[in-house]
Every structure is written in C-alpha cells, then in structure tokens.
Symmetry: C2
C-alpha cells in the first residue's frame, strides 16, 4: 500500500524517557527518515542459473530528491538542527553515490540546518553506542529499516513510539508496535504509540499548537507515574491504569507541561509543503556495449573467453569476463572461485556509438554457439561519462 | 584481494574487557562470521535511464554453503554453543531466502551446536541492546559489515580486536584497526589487535595450546593494569607503557592466567578442515519468458502497454508492467509514482517452453517500434518451480 500510494518517507522519532522507561541511553532524541519505496525492497528477484540468485537494488533520482528534501523540511519544521546522511557510497558508487550526491546538492538550500554524512557501518556503530550524538538521519530503505529498529530498541520505547508514512498526496500515521490482537478489547494496551502518531499528524497538518498541547500533557502523565502495565514499575509509578484511564489522565492534563522531562515546543507552521518532483534536463545517452550474463558449467574462464571471442560486430568484441564481480578473463587468478554465472562484457573501445541491432546480433550468435545468455545489461554513457562499473581487478 | 584469493569468511570476535576497557555492555562475547565475497559488494552497477541506477545483489549457493559450514565448524572448534543466522528473507525471498535455507540444511549436521534465526532489523536491534545474548552470528556480506562495526564499537574494543579472512587455500589475519601511519614507529601503538590476530591464526592452524597461552598472558597483562596510552586510565592502570614494553609484559606472563577476567581454554584440534564445495544435481531449467526493461519518458503505463501488446511470438505476450517493482499495468493505481524505468514482462501462460529465439524476436520487434530496451532478465523454472518474483500488487 505504501508504494501504491507513493508514501515515500517513513518517519520514526526515537526518544528515551529516562527514568520512566528503561534504557542505557538517557539522552537520545533523534528522528530517522527512511526512504520507503526503493532499494532492494522493489522485490525484483531472478534465479537464472543453478547456483546464483539475484535481487535488483534500484535507486532513482526522484526517489533520492524527495526523501532528502523531506528530511530537511521536516528538520526545519520540527526545530531540529542537523541532518545526517547514511550511505555505503564507498562501495556502491553509483546507487548510494547518487543518494549522497543528491544530499550534497540539496543541503545548501537549507543553510539553517547543519549536515554531515557517515558510511552506514560506522554510522550504525556510532548510533548504537552514542545515539545522543544524532538529530535527524536520512537514509536508504534497507539501512533505514535496520537503524530505525536499533534506535527504537535502545531507546527502550518501541511500545511508545509513533511513525508516519508521507507521500505527495496522502500520508498515513501509525504506532510502531503491531496490532497485538491477543490483548485487543481488554483495556490493558498502552495507547502512547497512537497518541504519538496523532501528534505527528497534527504537526504534519500544521496544527502545531494542538500537537504541542497533546505531547506535553502526555509527558506530564508519564512523569506523574500514571502508567499502563507494560511500563509500570513500583519504584517509579504512582498508579497502574488501563487504556481508557491513561487516555483520561492525558486529557485531564491538556494545557500542562512536564517538569522533569523536557517540554516540547513546536513553532506554528502551515504544515510541510512538498514541491512535486520535476524531471530535469535529459542527458545525452549513448550505447557503448552490453554485459551478457551466461549460465555455463565449465571451470576455466579461458575456455569461455575463447568461444565468445569469436563473436564480433561492427564495433563490439569481448573485452572482459567476471564471476561474482571479479575479473577472471583476460588474465584472471586461478584461486578465484567461480560459480556458473559469468558476466561477459561486449564493448567498443574506439569511442563509436553502438547500434541496438549489434546487441541483438551478439545474442543471436551466442545462441548459435550454444551459449546460454540468461540476462543482459546495456552499457551507456550519459553526457559522455561511462555509467557502468568496471570489473574488480580490472 | 579477498575475492581474488577466495577468502570467503570474515571472522570478527567482539568481546568486552570491563572494567579495563569502557563499555555499556559488560558481558558481551560474540563472534560475527560475515560472508566476504558476494552480495552487493560484487560492485556491478549500471545506469541505463536518466532517473534510475541499479546495483546487482548476487547470492550463490556455494557462497552460502561455504560460509554457513565455516560458522558451525568455527563454533565447534572454539567451544561456542550457538550459531544465529541474520537475513531479510521476509522481503528477499530468493536471495536471503537461499541463505537461510542453506543454514537450515546444514545446521542439523551439527547437533552439538544450537541454532536460530533473526530478521536483520530485529536482530541488529537486539544485538545493539543486549549483545550478551549472542554467541556466533553468521550473515551476508552487507549485514555483516554493519553489525560487525556495531559490535566492535559497543564492546569498546575496536583498538584491541583481531579479525581473519578465511579461504579454502589461503587465510589472512589482521588487526581490525587501520594502519595508523601517523603514529608508525613512535612506540605508542597498542599491539593488542595484532596479538589477537595471532591468536586467531594459531587456533586456525590447530596450535590451540599456543593460542591459549598467548591470549591468557595478554589478559593477565591487561588486568595487571599495564596499558598503552589509548586505554590508560589513572584509576585503573598501574603503568603506562609503549608498544615494545607492552609486548615484553605479555611475553613475561606466558604461562600465567588472568584472575579477574575470564581465562580462555581452547581444546586441542587439528585446525579447521574445510570440505571443498561440491556442485550438486543440476536442476531441469526451462525458459518461460523475459522481463524487458525499457527506458521510456511517458507517464501513462496504459500507453506503454498498448504499444508493447502488439509484440507477440509463438508463446510470448506482454503480461505485466511494473515501475520500481509495483505493478502499473494492467490495472494500476494512478497514485503510483513512475520513473522512466519500466519492467515489461513477456511470458507464457500456457505451460509451454519458450525458445531463446523468441526472446530475440521480442527485442527485434521492440527496436522496430522505437522502444528502448536497456536490459533483460530471463524467466526460468527450475524443476518445474518458477524462480522469479511476481510484481508487487500482482
């Protein structure tokens, strides 16, 4: 549903409520803004050889622009000071590289908000160890999935959190916990997650005064020790209450502010206005070749190289074979373990533009040679720059 | 180098040395065994439209078998009790699904070692919060990258850790910290990471008595308060020493055991013996169609559907169009945001086997219609079971 309705942003505030909720991290108060539609979650998987399965990671420029812009807009509206980007662009130079590049393009439009970047492994390690160092984090779908669970868990407040799913035309607000059907209707559930979701909705719509009033009343209830069973602790709580009584206690405190926990203030806004994505200048795209992936049961790459070298077109010839990304022809290492999944690059080395029919000729010729081409990836230059990776070891 | 030499396993023990090394997790003692050659790290990326970039996640059966088997062998050799598998197989049913399936196949061969599985997001959250609950974790390359940094960081011992890279024919042992050229030759570096790497090497080779003696002497040195500058604390340390003096202190304690920190015991083994991967029965593979990915600047999927529906072969016709994995034809939702990257599925619905030349006919016909096919993925059944994902919403 998220993707069908274009809900591109998942927003997950993670805050600790020490000492009322147990945590090893007393001062954390961060928000994770996770891209919600792309990445490996497109669910496009193919098995085409006995040994190898593939999943496509797809990252789009509009997807990156929308989520990064939303993160900065959210930070500004919610009085946050810094947006931190997490990617793995040292390895995935084109996909994660695009995400980071878009982040670097958009950040200067928000001079009032600081910005920085971490590689996902080091960033996650810092987040897990000293979450109080972070403010707003924006990241790709898979990384966001992992770090938003880490942050909620170490805050100790999974049962109390709200989240939102934001699109250009629709938005959806929910508690981060599940529907807990086993306790439905028993008046024992903690409604805090839904209250938090309501606060997020009010802020999103620009009813910031309402959001502020509800959240402060809720914080006051928490520090007064009026607790549902899930967070009740004799040494800290004053009263164990049910769902309805907890809600009544919050309502009774509307207009009050917490004294031990920090009160929230939200400045009045018109809600977050999202500028719809606009397609940019279309780059000049030229075809330079094709990676043909072959299912082959042999073990010696030179044998495969010999067969495929016989395939040539006006501009194309075999220039490289890799196995799991590692160059194995020409001049591979015998220690490299090879699966039955071979990427065979046919490319032009002389700057010529390749015709589509040349690719079809390669496929036809390969079929005649009994070579089992199972997938293809065309090689392009955009505005004269190669837009495909080299082989590792090339 | 790791991939060229077939070093498929990265092994990263993460242990806290409370109170000598600062940590919020006093009792953690786990080992992360990370697949080291596959996943998104194959570095195969292509941009083929203005808006969309792709990275291939490749997972192989031999890759899964080797790392899972190594994890259990390691656990057995090192006296570990449980191996936990981390995947995201609820989303990536074929790639991560294969990893988990292989784990489930191999685990029963080790009845002396317990086993379980976590989805990566929840597992990482648990790891970050209560690392003392884990023993050995085996996982895919990207997840392993992230969680091994988390574990080292929260243990507080990045500066003290060793790691190994294990292959069938070679192995490499190193400190997890970098080479720190700024302090080279100054006699101030903490050599503990290299000492730990040495301990791992001795264990790997089956010189377990030597490994035990060195590690216990090192633990004794640590608890005697003989510390290099990076971990020196006046309230806990007795002496601040240089690299050479620290090494001398360890050597002087060979044969001694720690009293406050737990001493290690390694049982005598012949080292880890790895059975080389053997290719299994080759499944019966039948071609059922092709996903042709098209670069198209339009916005109405029905328009694209109309054009492509005119392409038919003996067994193939257009059956689905998706954009970023979401079905947009037939019967899409107008709210779905579409990029210029369209997956157009040509498939047979009547159980026939498709000929390779039919795929080439589709490509030729598409070219004649001015449709810009930028990549293809063949659709196969293995032993009669479809080995490709459906569209989301299909």
């Amino acid at each position: 549903m998220r993707k069908t309705l274009g809900l591109f942003a998942n927003v997950r505030p993670c805050k600790s409520y020490h000492p009322y909720v147990k945590t090893k991290h007393e001062h954390m108060n961060l928000v994770i803004i996770r891209e919600n539609e792309e990445d490996l979650y497109s669910g496009i998987e193919h098995q085409q050889t006995d040994e190898v399965v593939q999943c496509l990671k797809l990252i789009s420029r509009p997807g990156c622009e929308k989520i990064v812009r939303y993160a900065f807009e959210y930070a500004r509206q919610n009085g946050r000071k810094r947006v931190t980007c997490f990617t793995k662009d040292n390895i995935m130079k084109q996909t994660d590289g695009m995400f980071r590049q878009v982040f670097n393009e958009i950040a200067p439009e928000y001079p009032d908000i600081a910005n920085d970047h971490y590689i996902i492994d080091i960033g996650s390690a810092r987040l897990a160890d000293t979450p109080e160092d972070f403010d707003v984090i924006v990241t790709l779908n898979l990384y966001g999935d992992v770090i938003s669970d880490i942050a909620a868990q170490i805050a100790g407040s999974i049962g109390l959190g709200g989240s939102s799913n934001i699109g250009e035309e629709c938005a959806m607000f929910e508690a981060i916990h599940g529907s807990a059907p086993d306790i439905a209707g028993k008046n024992i559930a903690n409604p805090s997650g839904l209250i938090q979701a309501g606060v997020m909705m009010m802020n999103h719509l620009g009813q910031n005064d309402v959001a502020e009033k509800i959240e402060n009343a809720w914080l006051k209830t928490l520090e007064n020790g009026i607790h549902t069973g899930d967070i009740y602790k004799p040494e800290l709580s004053s009263e164990k209450v049910g769902t309805q009584e907890f809600a009544d206690a919050v309502i009774a405190r509307l207009g009050q502010k917490p004294e031990k926990l920090a009160a929230v203030t939200y400045k009045q806004t018109e809600g977050i206005r999202l500028t719809p994505y606009k397609r940019r200048h279309i780059a000049d795209k030229t075809l330079k070749g094709m990676d043909a992936f072959i299912d082959w049961n042999g073990t010696d790459p030179n044998e495969l190289g010999d067969v495929l070298s016989s395939i040539t077109t006006k501009h194309l010839k075999l220039t490289m074979i890799t196995n799991r990304g590692i160059k194995v022809w020409p001049n591979g290492f015998k220690e490299t373990f090879c699966t039955d999944h071979w990427r065979c690059r046919f490319s032009t080395e002389n700057g010529h533009v390749v015709e589509k029919m040349e690719l079809i000729d390669v496929l036809t010729h390969a079929d005649q040679l009994g070579m089992d081409v199972i997938k293809t990836e065309n090689l392009y230059e955009f505005d004269g720059k190669p837009a495909y990776s080299l082989g590792q070891g090339q």
